[in-house]
Subunit: 115 residues, 2 copies
């Protein structure tokens, strides 16, 4: 697959894909002319990265987790990091849920007035 197709399939920009490669998150072969050629799993990987970005993980952390994602083996340090990220994520979900509740209060109050 070429970069444009991967971008469209994954719903990101071409620039983003080049950026991921810069950060060591995505690899590609090259055509004789130098154009990138992606393996079939590229789209899935990119979608996964987008999830992790949305979860607040920076590229650097994702890169650190890559080996254990790909090989399934982890060092104690990586397991600690995974646990920490898990905890952080759960915290964020709680925060968002709380924020949602407060927005709901506002909506409810507004509807009460307009009704």
């Amino acid at each position: 697959m070429r970069i444009g197709e991967v971008a469209r399939s994954a719903g990101v920009s071409v620039r983003a894909l080049r950026y991921y490669e810069e950060q060591g998150l995505l690899t590609s072969d090259r055509t004789p002319g130098g154009h990138r050629e992606y393996a079939a799993d590229a789209v899935g990987r990119v979608r996964f990265y987008q999830q992790l970005y949305a979860a607040g993980l920076p590229s650097r952390r994702i890169a650190e987790l890559l080996p254990c994602i790909d090989t399934g083996t982890t060092t104690a340090e990586q397991r600690d990091m995974l646990d920490a990220e898990r905890a952080r994520l759960q915290g964020r979900i709680a925060e968002l849920t709380d924020a949602l509740a407060r927005l709901d209060e506002i909506v409810a109050a507004a509807e009460a007035r307009s009704a």
Copy 2:
């Protein structure tokens, strides 16, 4: 309350409070000498803003919502925005929950290998 006390109570920096004022999110009186003097509800407001920031709302949007938060009245446009933000938040919570599940998969796989 003076700015340092508000900052400590709310768990943010002094700089952040000045920034919120710059963005029209927070008001303050001034002492004759020009120092800021905050009302009692400032801490609560700041905590709320932090929640909304954590939820991904930029200052500009918060500022747009301020009138309906404060007065309880909303225009149709504001209600639409509130609904949109609500939906966005729910979407994000779903994303994070999903990302958490994927991290869990990795942790589980790693533990299986090490066990």
